[in-house]
Symmetry: C2
Subunit: 293 residues, 2 copies
DNA sequence: GCTTTTACCTGACTTGAGTCAGATAATTTT
DNA sequence: AAAATTATCTGACTCAAGTCAGGTAAAAGC
């Protein structure tokens, strides 16, 4: 890695921190402690469960409780017991709180507008697209891939998204029962592995390996959230699967894919997989690939 | 301005604040108050006068004094009277302080490196160039143009830079005495105007108008710092000069320029100036322009 | 029905960050 | 030489932010 790149990133972060810090102090925290303003933001128009507020803001339970009491005293929020479980409590903004939220949102927008205002239309466009680029790549960098239980809640979420997408993509739709299995037991060590990609804790992609012969694995359930595509996350997932396959004692990986999943095919080719003749009778497969790892 | 652009800017700032905040807390402020870490940074390897520290960090004099005492107690810095003026005090890092500074720098670099590490070389390149783009355009947006006394320190700084650059650019060099005047008295209302562009308080460009006939002004001393070129700051300066000229009762602006200043010529053409026959005998001029405003 | 766990609250703290009103010494102005 | 100004320091504050050790009510487990 070049030291020039590092110093650009450092310089960027520093100047940015200083600039946004000025905004935060002057605009958001004008007449109220910052933590309260952030809390109002986080509760939002819909309300939130206290437990979620705590995890999203990353604050101590006692501290949050005190902040909520303070908002209640100011008539900006109310906290009430949950419907089903009366231990779980839900915070909502009062009408006055909603007004305050609007005001906070407005201040933020004013700040952004003031930033864009001196720029020409072309410059604005370049400005926002550069911001999107930084954000996307930062997201990519912040994404972590880890092995999880394929029966866990997050894994299920990804699989459901994946199946729904297959159903939309395949000419004949997709029925899980008709397809070749990749059950939790098959994608758990020592038989296989199930990997999950997370961004800020949220699942945004998955991939699995299932053993089909003593030294041969099959790549299954490769999925990346649409919002994270085009960043090379699929490639990272595949590379990660390959190294886990090696650890599981596999020497070859194979996979099948549908003709409508063109991005997937080109990913496999780019990653060194070569097309082979059909090695199974998956009703949804049009192409079969393999790679010695 | 489009509301989509505004929301992109808002979203970017928010996600960025959160991310850099995590870094600041975990890395920089690990074993020492943030304000002290920033102060060590600001004193730097060379040392700094206390007065400069105060203005750069934007803190209260009493607060800074206490921070400095704290660093002294920890053996990281020492403060001593200035050479000429013994009221002005100068802060320097001790060897232990320098070690600490290195450590802080290293942590920052580690953070940046960790951010770049998961990206491919191509992605890294896109990442840093998008950051540079955001930073440059943010700089441009944060640049303010204001009328100042042409005899002020900042104006003199810009003029010196400008003369030095002319001397390097012109085939025959540049001698102020030979050129057409634009003295402080000529570029001050009601005779003319002197504008300064500032970024974070630092002068980065200038431009002036001098009256040569009751309703005709001459554009003089147009200069933009090399680091800020290519952003359209020259154009903004020129537009600002034009509106000030109108306020001074002028109806026409004219100017002369040298053949080696190609960027300047194209700026004038783009802004609606048309070439005319020579209207003065400036020894350094090759082209003459004018515009009805 | 009893114990354990969960989700939250309360009170008592610590620490960091920052403000403000003088005090003091060196320098400049008159 | 006296008065004013400048640069910094000191002490006495406030206020936000956050931690920690219990405590309580509701729900879940046995």
């Amino acid at each position: 890695m070049e030291s020039e790149e590092i110093s650009i990133v450092r310089g960027f972060c520093r100047s940015f921190t200083r600039r946004v810090g000025v905004f935060t102090d002057k605009f958001l925290g004008r007449d109220r402690p910052l933590a309260e303003a952030r809390l109002i933001f986080e509760i939002g128009g819909q309300g939130q469960e206290v437990r979620d507020l705590r995890s999203n803001l990353g604050v101590d339970s006692g501290y949050l409780s005190r902040l909520l009491r303070s908002l209640e005293r100011q008539g900006l929020a109310r906290v009430m017991p949950g419907q089903k479980d009366r231990r779980l409590r839900r915070a909502e903004l009062t009408p006055a709180g909603l007004t305050e939220l609007d005001e906070l949102i407005r201040r933020g927008q004013d700040f952004a507008a003031a930033l864009l205002e001196p720029l020409s239309p072309t410059q604005r466009q370049r400005f926002v697209s550069a911001m999107l680029e930084v954000e996307r790549l930062w997201d990519l960098s912040a994404t972590v891939i880890e092995a999880v239980d394929p029966a866990s809640k997050d894994a299920k979420y990804c699989l459901d998204q994946y199946y729904a997408e297959l159903d939309r993509s395949f000419d004949q739709g997709f029925d899980l029962a008709q397809s070749i299995t990749a059950d939790p037991s098959e994608t758990t060590p020592p038989h296989g592995i199930f990997l999950l990609a997370r961004l800020n804790g949220q699942p945004i992609g998955c991939g699995a390996i299932k053993r089909i012969e003593p030294e041969v694995g099959s790549v299954k359930r490769m999925w990346v959230d649409p919002s994270a595509r085009g960043l090379g996350l699929g490639r990272r997932m595949l590379q990660s699967l390959e190294s886990h396959a090696l650890e599981l004692g596999m020497r070859k990986l194979c996979l099948e894919t549908n003709r409508n999943l063109e991005a997937a095919q080109s990913l496999y080719r780019r990653c060194g997989y070569r097309e082979v003749s059909p090695f199974n009778n998956d009703p949804y497969a049009d192409f079969w690939f393999e790679k010695d790892i």
